[in-house]
Amino acid sequence: MQDAPSLGHHLGLGVGLRNVHFDHILREWPAVDWFEAISENFMDSGGRPGYVLAQIAERYPVVLHGVSMSIGSCDPLDRDYLRRLRALAEGVGARWVSDHVCWTGVGGVNSHDLLPLPLTEEVLAYVAERVRVVQDILGRPLVLENPSTYLRLRASTLREPEFLAALVAETGCRLLLDVNNVFVSCFNAGEDPRSYLDAFPFEAVVQLHLAGHQRGPEHIVDTHDQPVSEGVWELFRLAWQRTGGASTLLEWDGEVPAFERVHAELLRAREFMAGELDHGRLDAALRRGPSAAAEGLSTPVDFLVPSVMGRSELAAEAL
């Protein structure tokens, strides 16, 4: 298995690579530190997405982030998927490969959602065994992200930070800490995100995620369709300092604005790298009332579907 020096490398501030930004990136080569590509968007691509990623990988550090590994599923691991993931990672020189601590489907069906696991010792042992299998096939440590959750399961006996710390200890995997997901899950569970972060195994974190969320009438939905909230920025301040400046990436997946706007939002991270956590600001964010907007979609994925229409033409009828 690949040793981990590159995993500890601090890449700086990166942007999630999205289809709608391809033309801009290839034209402008923006001053972004690195890109994160959704693995499933590229691992089978014989067309433009694969071509674009290859071009980008020649100029920027690239990280792969998956949404369909389904590490917690009762279905057998898809070894063909994992082999192709490894080939993609090697092809683009991915600094690391990440996915989520979740399951996405069972019985051969993929919901394309990041569904919650009961956090128990039994499930921990099962997931740890699967992480080891994945790491053997990938030939490198797997990086796993805490998902957003909307349910607390009666069967759970472990807190998520405890579950993740044990998973790291048993497998040597690394973690991607999504600060927005901490805010969303803790709010929905009625927990204090500071308590969550106090228990989090920061020594295993190689990457941080930032994103926007939306408040529903009674809970928060991880919509990735707007700027990062002030409460999440405060949590980022804490997380960034405790990780010693982990590579940080902004995800914007719904109503994706122009690249410059996404990049500008990312660069706001610089404002929150120093200083003390503003508890009053965080508390105010946690107390804030629901938005008037209709509840957004959790885990948006339609951005993964390329616009074929935008690159299609009808030739003259002379032929």
Binding site: S111, L297, S298
Partner: protein, 282 residues
């Protein structure tokens, strides 16, 4: 922990939970279960609703992204209804969302209320929707499938002999009952086309430099190109066409020769063909 074929076995309780929750997403009516922690506020059912609502809406948006012209033709509400029923019948079984719409055109055809009627008695607008879905799926597959971009050295020039001209393997030859390519590109242009009248159309779909193009061709040209594909070269395709049409080969070859500048050259320049044999290096 026991191993099965080199993979760990899941706890039984986890399997029960996942079967239940996935069922609650795919078939949400009447979903309930003891797995939900009813001590949280708001009630667990509301939170399950977040997963349920997002599941169908999320995949419906993906399907609309794969079939934008069909979505335009049906209108978003009716399209969503079809998408909901389709996803219930054919939930995703792939790690990739790109495969989501693969069975959609055939599913639409199978769902038509007049499917048992004679072809002439069937509703024209349903034929159009099925054809449009078929066209859009073929374009989608062409867009991200294997393409000719890495085989530039095999691009022929106009002086390439017919015996060395083979059909570009990624080319799509399509026939539809309506001018669906025209409709699709009207939508692309931001116009609001009406459902066109029935008018058989033949077309060649190809990709070049990672963009797709649709070339309207005559029905006869489509038969010829099909022969070229089946027989392996233009020369052999001419023989095949002569057989199909029951005409003398000399007549077919003369007709092809007469189209050397009007058809053959534009087809080569457009990328219809590849060299059957790689060029030898000097």
């Amino acid at each position: 922990m026991s191993e099965s074929k080199g993979q760990p076995s899941p706890p039984a309780s986890l399997r029960d939970f996942q079967d239940w929750m996935l069922g609650a997403l795919v078939r949400p009516e009447g979903a309930s279960g003891p797995e939900l922690d009813v001590r949280v506020h708001p009630p667990a059912r509301v939170r399950l609703g977040t997963y349920q609502r997002s599941y169908i809406a999320r995949l419906g948006k993906c399907l609309a992204g794969q079939f934008p012209a069909l979505c335009h033709a049906l209108g978003p509400e009716l399209f969503d209804d079809f998408a909901r029923e389709y996803l219930r019948a054919h939930p995703s079984t792939s790690h990739s969302l790109y495969a989501l719409g693969r069975r959609f055109p055939a599913w639409l055809e199978a769902q038509r209320p007049d499917r048992d009627a004679a072809a002439a008695q069937r509703e024209a607008w349903i034929d159009f929707m099925v054809d449009l879905a078929d066209y859009e799926w073929r374009l989608f597959e062409l867009f991200d499938g294997p393409g000719p971009e890495r085989e530039r050295e095999r691009e022929p020039t106009a002086d390439c002999p017919d015996a060395e001209l083979a059909l570009q393997p990624h080319l799509v030859l399509a026939e539809h009952r309506f001018p669906v390519a025209w409709y699709y590109h009207e939508v692309r242009a931001g116009r609001r086309p009406s459902v066109p009248r029935r008018e058989p159309s033949a077309s060649v779909l190809l990709r070049r430099d990672y963009a797709t193009s649709t070339f309207p061709v005559t029905a006869l040209h489509l038969r010829f190109l099909t022969c070229v594909r089946e027989r392996g070269s233009v020369n052999a395709g001419l023989v095949g066409l002569a057989e199909v049409l029951g005409r003398p080969l000399a007549e077919i070859e003369a007709a092809w020769a007469a189209q050397r500048e009007g058809v053959r050259r534009p087809w080569i320049e457009a990328g219809f063909f590849t060299r059957a044999r790689p060029r030898t290096r000097r």
